[in-house]
């Protein structure tokens, strides 16, 4: 039997998606912050929430446990930790593309954020215009803000930078 590696476990977890954005895997979202293989049937996974109050966290944790159990891992331990806090910069390039495809503007990179006005002029995912205004920093879920595009006259949502 081949030795179980961290990379294999990470690949297995690819099937676990963000329950709110089904095109985005937890790997690409950046919430899997550590994987440790402790034996052929013993794996520890460290996860961190996007937002501290994220109501989907328990569900995601359970999905990860199940994905591991399905592969025959008897001891699948998933812990929640803030050691590596989630930031929107942890979303992979593939994840950013998936968000856009889903109709959500991907978050700007933290390095580009100077002050609290960073939510103005977000690029519209429908038409690409930056003639947009933030309507509210709070959207239908904790990780989304609401914007309006003056060019295509559509309201859109952005995955918030954090």
């Amino acid at each position: 039997m081949p030795v179980l590696t961290e990379a294999t476990v990470r690949e297995w977890l690819e099937e676990v998606k963000d329950p709110e954005i089904p095109v985005l895997s937890l790997n690409d979202l950046g919430v899997i912050t550590g994987i440790e293989v402790l034996g052929h049937s013993h794996v520890q996974v460290q996860m961190t929430p996007t937002f501290v109050g994220c109501p989907a966290m328990d569900y995601m944790k359970m999905e990860v446990e199940q994905a591991l159990q399905k592969r025959g891992i008897q001891q699948a331990e998933v812990t929640i930790s803030f050691e590596t806090p989630w930031s929107s910069d942890l979303i992979s390039e593939r994840g950013r593309a998936a968000l856009k495809q889903f109709g959500l503007a991907p978050p700007p990179k933290q390095a580009l954020i100077e002050d609290l006005d960073f939510l103005e002029h977000v690029e519209c995912p429908n038409c690409g215009s930056t003639e947009t205004q933030m309507k509210s920093p709070f959207g239908p879920t904790l990780c989304r803000s609401i914007h309006y595009c003056s060019h295509c006259k559509e309201t859109f949502e952005q995955f918030k930078p954090l």
Binding site: F51, V52, F82, S136
Partner: protein, 251 residues
């Protein structure tokens, strides 16, 4: 490390978040605008979630389970400031409270992100990022309504004057101020209050509102040591109603 000092600090912060979170959630479905409704609900969700992580930290230090701590204590065992337990009132009061409270919270967590107690520093770095959105929201609405009509300005002004003595109660000194400072856990309420005054002043100056001379106000203290208004216990009863039916149920 002074564990008693740390616990006292964590309890008061967590209790503030939990109670204001529940107050904010009272706007769900009845906000003046759909967007405000969503904003207050989201902030409620953030604050309750953040309080749980703080209770979780306390639990790791030997305190009871987060749910037990949140739902099974009586008013005199809560360490929140009286400010957060006041009823939501009219929207202008809720807005002013949101503005005054979240400026203080953001600064508090920015200070705590440098704490010598590493688990707290880690969580604070995270919470700080989330609270930026709360402050951003407060600032944008205060600037809008604080420069809008005569009515909106005078209503906000009245709420501001009524809220300030309670807001100053957020900085009620703890018996552990020195221990917290010496241990590098937290710089203390005095330092926080000074930064807060500067921070709210910057925004108020961009509106038609007048910030009263804070030195002339008497802060409403007591909350940190379990002295509360008659408004807290009914809120706790309501929060706990569902939980107390079956404390072992999984939610």
């Amino acid at each position: 490390m002074n564990t008693d000092a740390l616990k006292e600090l964590l309890y008061k912060i967590a209790d503030d978040q939990l109670i204001l979170g529940h107050r904010n959630s009272e706007w769900t479905g009845v906000g003046p605008l759909l967007e405000e409704d969503i904003a207050f609900s989201s902030m409620a969700q953030d604050k309750v979630g953040q309080s749980y992580q703080l209770y979780q930290m306390l639990h790791q230090m030997g305190e009871q389970e987060p749910d037990t701590v949140a739902f099974m204590r009586n008013a005199n065992q809560f360490h929140n400031s009286q400010f957060v337990e006041l009823p939501v009132g009219e929207y202008d009061f809720s807005l002013i409270r949101h503005f005054l409270f979240d400026h203080a919270e953001l600064i508090r967590f920015s200070m705590l992100s440098q704490s010598s107690y590493e688990p707290l520093a880690q969580l604070a770095r995270k919470i700080k990022g989330e609270l930026k959105y709360h402050v951003m929201h407060a600032n944008s609405i205060i600037k809008q309504l604080g420069n809008a009509t005569e009515e909106s300005i005078s209503r906000l002004q009245k709420s501001l004057e009524g809220a300030l003595p309670y807001a100053l109660g957020l900085f009620e000194p703890s018996p552990f101020e020195e221990a917290l400072k010496e241990g590098g856990i937290f710089e203390g309420e005095t330092a926080l209050q000074a930064k807060w005054e500067e921070s709210i002043r910057k925004i108020v100056e961009q509106t038609a509102l007048q910030l009263p001379d804070l030195k002339t106000l008497t802060p409403v203290y007591g909350g940190r040591s379990g002295v509360h208004t008659e408004h807290l216990q009914p809120l706790l009863d309501e929060m706990a109603e569902v939980f107390r039916v079956d404390p072992t149920a999984e939610w």
